[in-house]
């Protein structure tokens, strides 16, 4: 009987219709299905906005490895508030429009509890308004001054990595005293480079030094040779910072131009992130100086906390992947992901976080944080978080290339990196 009923009622056409309908519903309504199971009993879901493709992919690859290791560690420690943590990663293509769409996917499709991870400034600035509208805690690992400048909103925080302004102003005293006072700057001709140009020019002037030439390199540039003749003869220090796929070409061409002679070099490690310093043609970097957020090469005084972190993220003592020594990490920046996740965990625990209704409490709990001492949670070093500006401050390192390796020669204090507040996010409503 039942066979007959099914024969007479389920035709090929209706079966196809049903299949098409259910497939369509599955594609269209996963948010609804997920929502039914998302709340309070399941894992805490964290959306990881990652630059897997586009100009930020070298950073994104390592940010993802660090995030995976940090989440595994958190889960090994019992999760957050007794719940395991699930990371959902989405590629934003290092594009601001896609970044905003990814934030939307996290909020309305995956129903995550918070989002973390974006690095490139334009992506952060493009996506932060959407995070604010969706009332989604948005923990960026960007270095940009845009958080502390007040350009974003109460839901956007940067508790895991210091910003360009604090890095740059803390470099100036050492440069003026130990490297030289007449500085020529070479920087990318877009906002990140302009921050370097503006903040360092003022900072070195305050130390009795002077920027005698500013050379802006368009981001579309693929060869840099024609810019080097603009460096004035009286230059004592070339301050360089470059990002993107052209960094190795930039550094090699600079070496070809100077040929081991010329002024002292002070660079931001951004010019060499994910690049092996032992690459052919980079020998001229011997004795030059670099800012590092966290020293790539394991230093003799490496703390046990850093050693544990280095092992957890799979990086050897030269800053490369344990599995592939040619795969050099973005070590100076990627600790920010680890520390951001530690702050998110601490914030959720302080807020007694249970679900999306507690998002405001999470923001307030993080805003209430201040001292973050050196620990397994903060392997880069001591930090001080400013809840009003949503920005963390920490020690910076200056390393010198010696025998083909970066050796730390100076570490700033946290006080060296501080500046006046430019915003008070806590005065903004939710």
């Amino acid at each position: 009987m039942s066979n007959r009923v099914s024969k007479s009622t389920i035709t090929r056409r209706t079966a196809l219709k049903t299949l098409a309908g259910s497939t369509g519903a599955g594609l269209l309504l996963p948010g609804l299905a997920g929502g039914a199971f998302a709340q309070e009993s399941g894992p805490i879901k964290l959306g990881f906005q990652v630059h897997r493709t586009g100009i930020g992919s070298a950073y994104g690859r390592w940010y993802e490895r660090v995030a995976t290791a940090a989440i595994a560690r958190i889960n090994d420690m019992g999760g957050i508030n007794g719940r395991q943590v699930e990371m959902i990663a989405e590629d934003d293509g290092t594009d601001p429009r896609r970044g905003a769409e990814v934030v939307e996917r996290f909020a309305n499709l995956h129903n995550v509890d918070a989002v973390f991870g974006p690095l490139f400034s334009h992506v952060v600035i493009g996506a932060a308004p959407r995070a604010g509208e969706l009332k989604m805690p948005y923990f960026v690992v960007s270095e940009g001054h845009h958080v502390a400048s007040g350009a974003l909103n109460r839901y956007t925080l940067q508790p895991g990595i210091t910003d360009v302004k604090s890095q740059v102003i803390s470099m100036a005293p050492y440069v003026a005293e130990n490297v030289g006072k007449k500085v020529t700057m070479i920087f990318p001709d877009f906002a990140f480079g302009h921050d370097h140009r503006d903040f360092f020019t003022d900072a070195i002037a305050a130390q009795g030094g002077e920027v005698i030439q500013q050379i802006a390199v368009p981001p579309t540039e693929t060869t840099f040779t024609r810019y080097f003749p603009s460096i004035p003869r009286e230059t004592e220090v070339v301050y360089h910072v470059m990002v993107g796929p052209g960094v190795l070409t930039f550094v090699r061409e600079m070496g070809e131009f100077f040929g081991g002679q010329g002024p002292a070099l002070f660079g931001f490690i951004d010019s060499l992130e994910a690049v092996d310093i032992a690459s052919p043609g980079l020998e001229f970097l011997e004795d030059s100086y670099f800012w590092e957020g966290m020293p790539r090469y394991a230093q003799p005084d490496q703390t046990p906390h850093e050693a544990a972190y280095r092992a957890a993220v799979g990086v050897d003592e030269n800053g490369a992947s344990i599995d592939d020594p040619r795969d050099v990490s973005t070590y100076a920046h990627m600790f920010g992901v680890w520390e951001t996740l530690a702050v998110m965990k601490a914030g959720m625990e302080a807020a007694g976080y249970q679900g999306p209704d507690d998002r405001q409490s999470l923001i307030e709990a993080v805003e209430a944080m201040s001292d973050m001492p050196l620990s397994d949670d903060h392997p880069q070093g001591d930090k001080v978080f400013n809840g009003r500006t949503h920005q963390v401050f920490g020690k910076q390192s200056i390393s010198r290339v010696q025998d083909g390796k970066l050796v730390r020669v100076h570490q700033t204090s946290i006080e060296d990196t501080l500046y006046e507040d430019e915003v008070d996010y806590t005065a903004q409503s939710f």
């Binding site: 601001p96 905003a100 600035i125 509208e133 001709d189 877009f190 906002a191 302009h194």
Partner: protein, 314 residues
């Protein structure tokens, strides 16, 4: 039912359907549709020039960015009232399109593509050059006051959706009316055979100039709308990538059809959105889909529908 009545019913039906979807779809897709509708306006603007007049521009990001920055900078620098800033956004596109059209239309075919591409690149580099003012590639966030129009908070999900729908409806119905008008038919005549149109007494240079200005202005309005509805202005939107996007949307949806741009944006948006849930190579999938469509439906989705039956599709 006459073809005109069918066309009217179709376009109004699409607008009504989009209105109904607001109440039916989950929040995620409502947010997506708001973005899709604004991008579809951009595609409709592009389609006016490419689909109906036959001029392939590779520099429309310049017009989109002109509207975006015309609106955004006037808010950011001078605190201009939002309504006036929106007008300034549209005007920026009109002026830029007027200048570009005047110069670029001295060329044709491949040279026109190259010249428009170069203008757009110059526009992008101009944004970077004046970085201290424009904030270059990094861009800036539009203030809350700048996103409030006639007392309506356009950052609100529902308000944003309805605002995007009003804009799309205006562009869609306006285009449908335009292509059936004397001007629209003349533009199609230029596309089909410029020499013949000239022989019939049409000033084709003037017609193409009008098409560039209309297309550029509509693209600029979309750029300004994007800034006000999504709160961000940035140099990325002036890159060549954003000149290629409308070309792909229109090719996929159907060049020279009124509904093609909307279909193309929806198709491409969800193709990337869904495939990105499965693989990082989502742009590869988009590329393969484009290749398949070009091979088997060279006139795009709406174009294929028109070829196979709905001959009245405008």
């Amino acid at each position: 039912m006459t073809d005109r009545a069918k066309s009217y019913t179709l376009h109004v039906g699409i607008v009504v359907l989009l209105a109904v979807l607001f109440f039916v779809l989950p929040a995620y897709h409502v947010g997506n549709l708001a973005r899709i509708m604004v991008l579809a306006v951009y595609a409709i603007g592009y389609n006016l020039l490419f689909g109906y007049t036959g001029l392939l521009s590779l520099g429309h990001a310049l017009f989109f960015a002109a509207g975006m920055y015309g609106f955004g900078m006037s808010i950011h620098l001078w605190g201009t009232p939002t309504a006036l800033a929106l007008v300034l956004g549209g005007l920026s596109g009109l002026v830029v399109a007027g200048i570009v059209g005047f110069l670029a239309l001295r060329t044709r075919d491949v040279a026109f593509m190259i010249v428009t591409l170069m203008f757009a690149q110059a526009g992008y580099l101009t944004i970077l050059y004046f970085g201290p003012t424009t904030r270059g590639d990094e861009g800036f966030v539009v203030s809350d006051a700048g996103r409030t129009l006639f007392g309506l908070d356009l950052s609100d999900e529902a308000t944003r959706y309805w605002a995007a729908l009003v804009l799309l409806a205006t562009a869609l119905l306006g285009t449908a009316a335009l292509v059936k008008s004397r001007l629209g038919r003349a533009l199609i005549a230029v596309r089909e055979n410029e020499e013949r149109a000239q022989m019939l007494g049409y000033d084709t240079t003037r017609l193409k100039y009008i098409a560039v200005v209309l297309s550029g202005t509509l693209s600029a309005v979309a750029g300004a709308a994007y800034a006000i509805l999504f709160g961000y202005v940035g140099g990325t939107f002036a890159t060549v990538q954003y000149s290629i996007f409308p070309l792909l949307w229109v090719l996929l949806g159907g060049a020279g059809t009124t509904i093609g741009p909307l279909i193309g944006v929806i198709f491409m948006f969800y193709l990337i959105d869904i495939s990105s849930g499965f693989t990082d190579a989502y742009m590869f999938i988009a590329g393969v889909a484009l290749l398949i469509l070009c091979l088997f439906a060279p006139q795009g989705i709406a174009g294929e529908i028109r070829r196979r039956g709905l001959k009245w599709l405008p």
